[in-house]
Subunit: 478 residues, 2 copies
């Protein structure tokens, strides 16, 4: 009811001001009909006013919270997602089981500097690390970054020592030829493989400065790339940026810095997750799908608001708003909420395996996994012939202040890259990152970090272009 | 040596540019001699370039860290301060014991929402709260602020319940007639007396939204005003702002929200602290003192960088820089590092008691207890006749971009207010608060929050005006 009322109010406003359909003035109506353009503009304006996406992320973070795969929280998230899809009027709702080879228990993590100056250190286990088996005490040896650690000859020079990679994403300035995220990529090298590299040099454990842009006293967890056969398994942990600075300042004094760590993390046997899928079924071409993705799982210390509640909510809301229109779009729209993204796109791989026979029915995909910031640039990854069509679609969201990129090299973000690499066309909005990497993978990733206006903007952008794509008879592969 | 070199470099620069002594162009040389003005400008410029204050706060936070009165950290801080004063060349260094009636053990604090949706809650005990004696489980009842709680008739309406004051300092906009800090003052009412008010209405415990301006997932600790005879003692704790929002969102759903708290805090018998005092002894009038204050103690979860490492460091550095000049100033300069400020200006009261016979020898005082932000306005609290003299002194720091306030109502901040109220004239710089109340009383109050340029600016401002005051034969009382 509420949405109906808003719809009427917006339409009324447009009639009064005469601005209603001015937005499509440059659109080629041989590509996008006048009626379709009008409907898209109305949808866009309604979505900008509708708080649905914000309400969904509030619901997920309040009623579920942390939801790492294999945990009770994840099971509650799956049930929540099914119920939410139904509540929002999706035509088909189902789950697809995702087996995960190994589970993990975070356990407790504590650390303190024993000498030369006693201090508590804020530390968290990196995902799928083993524990320390009681107290582990060792002298800290600092490495500026992963390359610095790798430069040490393999052997036992770090025997009895704790390797410490102090690389700071916050201080990294990407080179001119590097992508914007280079600072994160550089940080994830030590996060992902540091424990293997350090073990090959004899270290007892590795700690890294958290991969993040903040200076808050949280450790950012995240996934390692697992242990490697024939290399000794050692514990891996992240420490907070202020504690990294503290240790560096101690080390500058030239005395040995001794840390005591205790982590009760544990790798377990297989666990199960599930992809949860909601579909707005197309009225005339139901077996061709536009797919909107996000991941339902989250790390386990915050409530997963920006990573990836924002994606779940904006994609669910975008499809639900399309579903509230007078008729179903021609093609189906599927919202894919993936399992176990955080440990390596496991749910996306399972979806690919289960649906590879119908991959050519996946017409176009997108994923939001970078927080709830507003959309700033539309970037396509479609066949050459379709670029001009997408460009016409773009004209209907350009009034939102969104730029156009000529690159045409989008392959779908996060999970959706699995389908993108297999040939599915993609359409993605680059987003303002707000403070994404300040909160990412920390206890501080909570609902209050969502900026409602930005979430509505992002949702409106996706709703509009995917509505258009669902109504048009375009093969975006060509 | 380092300082000597900088001094020479600065002088050289001035000779080259001819700017050296232009700053005193408007100074009345019947009040401040040309030579004194020149020396003050040189000191000011040297202080702006000297990193001493930053080095001191780094030393305190790295080598000592948390230092709540009565703890091992506080004892180490006292030893650190004595050693640092000596290292910096102070002429006299001593401690004055400060007995504290009660000690307190923080213990552990944990909380979780049990129903309707399980969540871990970030909570910390408020200073000198009792513990919960095991798990304490109760339904949360929200009050918008302290007045809202006080409006409930005394009795047992909150029996079995946990009172929750959700007032947000971050959202408070001071009224036109309120001081800038009104939002903090309003928050400290529930922090200080909420446990008494809630107990009078039958509550089992009280939790408050942290008094702070941030939305980080830390609870801000702080001092209550103690328990009251004939009122049942109940535990008092602060929860993080995001967790306060979470609980409010749950409460909006209309179902009972049940929290389980566990705090092992404990009030103990008497403990001892100490004021630590360093003196640059005056060359001709050693028994009259200019006093620069800060508090050495800190809360126990961060390393006390902004509260009040910044004050300790800027005041020590200001006096030390004066001490590095060619000769001692006429009058003595004392740096007073107070004990136990955080639990109610206990060290300041002890200093007052011990020195009340010589209070009229305390010519002028100042305290920094608002972080390391730069000085923006000079405000005096001196006799009517002295205002014009202070105004002449002000001209020599005006080039730092500092404004002048005509109010002449400063009484000295924090500890120094004890001496100020007893009649000692005061001279204080109002400071940019930076993000003071984002970090204040949390684990996040760490060295990396110090902005070196700002600390040097603050130090230069105090060094310059207190050097002038120490050289001039002015009775600031008149």
């Amino acid at each position: 009811m509420r949405n109906k009322r808003i719809n009427v109010a917006v339409t009324g406003l447009f009639l009064l001001t005469g601005m209603a359909f001015a937005d499509d003035v440059n659109v080629d109506h041989d590509v996008i009909s006048k009626e379709l353009a009008n409907n898209a503009v109305l949808l866009r304006e309604r979505a900008l006013l509708d708080n649905l996406s914000v309400d969904i992320v509030e619901s997920l973070t309040t009623e579920v919270g942390p939801r790492r795969v294999g945990t009770e929280g994840d099971r509650r998230a799956i049930a929540w997602a099914e119920a939410k899809f139904r509540e929002l009027g999706f035509d088909r709702v189902w789950t697809e089981e995702v087996p995960v080879e190994r589970g993990w228990i975070r356990g407790e993590a504590s650390a303190e500097i024993v000498s030369p100056y006693p201090h508590n250190i804020v530390m968290t286990a990196l995902g799928y690390s083993i524990g320390t088996n009681g107290d582990l005490v060792g002298e800290i040896v600092e490495f500026a970054d992963f390359d610095d650690l790798e430069a040490v000859p393999e052997g036992d020079s770090l025997k009895g020592k704790i390797a410490f990679v102090s690389y700071s994403m916050a201080d990294y300035v990407p080179q001119a030829d590097e992508p914007r995220m280079a600072g994160y990529g550089k940080g994830t090298r030590a996060r992902g493989r540091g424990h293997v590299s350090a073990a090959k040099r004899g270290a007892e454990a590795i700690i890294i400065r958290s991969v993040g842009t903040d200076n808050n006293r949280y450790a950012h967890t995240g996934s390692g790339y697992g242990y490697v056969e024939d290399v000794r398994k050692i514990p891996a942990a992240a420490i907070s940026p202020p504690d990294a600075v503290l240790i560096q300042n101690m080390l500058k004094r030239g005395e040995p810095v001794i840390i005591k760590m205790n982590m009760s993390s544990e790798i377990t046997g297989p666990v199960k997750g599930a992809n949860v899928i909601g579909e707005i079924t197309g009225r005339s071409d139901p077996d061709n799908y536009l797919v909107l993705g996000a991941h339902l799982d989250s790390w386990d210390e915050g409530t997963g608001a920006i990573d990836d509640g924002a994606g779940v909510a904006s994609m669910m809301a975008a499809a639900a708003l399309i579903g509230q229109m007078e008729q179903r779009p021609r093609r189906s729209i599927r919202v894919l909420l993936f399992a176990a993204e955080e440990i390596g796109l496991v749910g996306a791989a399972a979806y690919y395996d289960a649906h590879q026979d119908e991959l050519d029915q996946h017409i176009l995909g997108a994923e939001v996994d970078g927080g709830g910031g507003r959309a700033h640039t539309l970037i396509s990854g479609v066949g050459e012939e379709s670029v001009a069509i997408v460009r016409e679609m773009y004209k209907l969201i350009a009034p939102l202040g969104i730029a156009w990129s000529d690159a045409n090299d989008a392959t779908g973000a996060s999970d959706m890259s699995v389908l993108g690499k297999a040939g599915m066309p993609a359409l993605n909005f680059m987003q303002n990152s707000n403070d994404y990497f300040m909160y990412h993978h920390t206890p501080n990733d909570t609902f209050d970090k969502i900026i409602p206006e930005d979430m509505r903007h992002l949702t409106a952008a996706y709703a509009t272009v995917f509505y258009l794509a669902a109504e048009m008879d375009v093969d975006f592969r060509k």
